[in-house]
Amino acid sequence: MSGVWPALGQAALLVALLALTVPAVGRLLAHTYTSERHLAVERGAYRLLRLDPDADQRWRTYALSVLGFSMVGVLLLYGLARVQPLLPLSLGMAAVPADGAWNTAVSFVTNTNWQWYSGETTLGHLVQATGLTVQQFLSAATGMAVAAALARGLARTGASGVGNFWTDLVRTVVRVLLPFAAVSAVLLVLTGVVQNLASPSTTATATGGEQAYVTGPVASMEAIKELGTNGGGFFNVNSAHPYENPTPVSNLLELFLILLLPFAMAWAFGIIVRDRRQGGAVLAVMALLLTVAAGLLTWAEMAGPGAVPTLAGGALEGKEVRFGTAGSALFAAVTTGTSTGAVNSMHDSLTAPGGGISLFLMMLGEIAPGGVGSGLYGMLMLAVVTVFLSGLMVGRTPEYLGVRIGQREISLVAVYVLLTPVLVLVGSAVALSAPAGLAGLQEGGPHGLTEAVYAVTSASNNNGSAFGGLTSGTPFWNTLLGLCMLLGRFVPIVVVLALAGRFAAAGRSPRGAGTLPTHSPLFVTLLSGVALVLVGLTYVPVLALGPIVESLS
């Protein structure tokens, strides 16, 4: 237990950094999504794209814009990976196989960043920098735009539109992601992260062999990888690689970047709906769930069941000694609580309860605090479920921020809440009943089950972290996970935008004595409980057969 104080110190420093910055960044985000003024560079982009940035789109047009833009992104990225040998800076890499190129294209456009391949041996600099990194900006901006549209829908009364997707997209990239990523990349370089366009170099080893060193534009990719809760790393081992995450300082910076925008979006929500307490309540639930999960995961890795953690002072297998057990456990909680999926340790080597907690965090639906954008709209969906259940208990018509939640609204939320579990459970069942699916598993028994369920859960929730052990670079797994990523991203987005349109068009009920305050500690407790109970009811059987059985054996 000698690492307890450093672990607490690291967590305290992270909390302090977030407390200092989240309110200011939240104000910037709120201004970005409500300002009526356009920057000169934005006006240039609109002229180039022949767009009217002031046109207010109905939710249908907004949703079709999201879908059209994302489809083009998938097709372009797919083409880029397939013609890689013909491109400059390809470093002699071959064309990516069709199923792998499709999986990667879908993965980066859906903000999942699931990586079936080793970046350093599969992709050249051009595809990494102009294909994957560009999509890391655009997919993050898309998620944030959708969350902004929902917040606007809740802020408007009797309106036909929810905003303009193209304006939200351009503003998110120009005002938030690009400047933040540029500063972050410089800070990462200062901590030792590599940034160049060099070809791989080789050196002779002591035993007479040859060792290749691959470097490249790592820091620029790393910055948006964390900031946009993307998670797709330059190297196969992601943030466990010393060129991608060299020191405890870079590790802390990466943790901070992962959490900054999801929490700031909740703060911005309060400003957009003109009641900061609402944003505070959402942020409190996000923070509460993450804190409890990170604490339990750290306990499991440092002092959990088993002889190894007891004797060694922590489960060290699969972890980098420069981060230690606590640094790896905190990263595992943060990366699965958000939809990031970056890793600085092998999640396959987490203790059984530790692996179960990281799986549980993804099963929550990426709300603690979730992805940039998707975390906020996921939490707001659960807030609607909470007011609905509370309304049933006291016999009142449920309402959220003055909007009455009727049959149509709760039906849409039900589709949102049920879709991901259906994808996870059906996808896992397909994988575990097909010989091609079973062939990818490294282990049998409960650990093998967890390997498969973790992969499908990661893809369906657009997380992207890999448990390890699973050989997923096969046509079967690439296609199955690609479909899970695609449906797990865009069906919820369509539902959220449909709700945004209904909220914007609806009238507002005056607050009465029986109105449930949605900013109170009681509501924070109820919302946290609803999130946990929904996941518990849905996933307990599969968790029992996987990590829980493994913990007991």
Partner: protein, 31 residues
């Protein structure tokens, strides 16, 4: 089975079909 232009066409059509179905979903929910 998994190589060549036929496979490319299959994945490209899958992409277009998936987004077309999502667009249909938008239309259904807007009714």
């Amino acid at each position: 089975m998994w190589a060549g232009p036929v496979t490319d066409v299959i994945f490209l059509l899958t992409t277009v079909a998936a987004f077309a179905l999502l667009a249909v979903l938008v239309g259904v929910l807007d009714r």
